[in-house]
Symmetry: C2
Subunit: 187 residues, 2 copies
């Protein structure tokens, strides 16, 4: 194994993104990715359940983390502050390398299969937020609605930050997205 990058998972992600860029997501196989990373197909499946998952590796650990982030806010902090605070932290973490994330988002926007997986991840995020709210005392049905809503706001703020439309930090975009809905609901 080459010494310069001993982490096989990271090598698989780098190889996959490069191949997807060159040939398009659909044309690349798991075998291609493993070969380019200097690994076996078997090793690929030790790290990822399928080809789609390569682009969502970073989000796996986030789910329990999101529940904990929401839950840990003090009881006198409102549900909105707890959820927005948790999401701002997740967004800042994911957007540490915006150029790589923009490239990843372009690949997702070009593939129905990847969009499907992205929606599954957002549904997982919604469930994680709801679980955190329930632990803070929000009724489960309300927590579910708030979770789905907040995951939608997260995604919209995330895409706006990547495109820098309008210019602003992730937290700015999060509040702008929430404000659009607040206006919509009260006009």
């Amino acid at each position: 194994m080459p010494r310069w990058n001993p982490d096989p998972q990271e090598r698989l992600v780098t190889a996959a993104v490069e191949l997807f860029r060159q040939h398009g997501y659909d044309a690349v196989t798991v075998t291609d990715i493993a070969e380019k990373a200097g690994l076996t197909r078997r090793s690929f499946f030790r790290h990822f359940s399928d080809k789609r998952e390569v682009l969502f590796a970073g989000s796996r650990g986030n789910i329990p983390r999101i529940t904990r982030l929401v839950e840990e806010y003090a009881p006198d902090v409102t549900a909105r502050e707890a959820v927005m605070g948790a999401l701002a932290q997740v967004g800042d973490y994911l957007l540490a390398d915006p150029a790589a994330q923009a490239l990843r988002q372009d690949l997702i926007d070009d593939s129905l299969e990847l969009q499907e997986r992205e929606r599954t991840k957002l549904a997982d995020m919604a469930a994680a937020l709801a679980a955190g709210l329930v632990l803070r005392g929000t009724p489960p049905a309300d927590a579910h609605s708030i979770g789905v809503f907040s995951a939608g706001i997260f995604h919209s703020a995330y895409v706006r930050t990547l495109r820098n439309e309008p210019p602003g930090s992730f937290a700015d975009q999060l509040h702008a997205s929430a404000a659009v809905i607040a206006r919509f609901l009260t006009e």
Copy 2:
């Protein structure tokens, strides 16, 4: 072809739902469904792109209809009233046979594959709502956020109506779901 039900698509849906109920969604094949409906596999694929689609046949025509419903509201009607009015009509239409819809929802709730397709349909609904709003003059980025939000509210109201929790019409549930988010955003 039996005379009692000349519509092959409807026969395929009825056969599929019955088989899914008896054996579980995963265990049933397209061949099983076609056989039970007295049709060929080829005929199945003339009506549906895959097995999942059988449970979403009713929603196909709704997408352009939703855009039109939103667009057709008079200019002095607010975006909220136009979207809620359009969704109330779609919900009432889909919920004409609540027992069949509850059974369908149970099948979806039991299958990750079907949940994925359901989310795709909700994303289509979000895009259709956004398109209607843009035609009424809402800026595209705002229309996108409102579309995603409203499709989420629709789904939550739809499930609450099926479960009758709390008791109420679809329009009641729609307003209750919106009110949860309005409270969340202003507390």
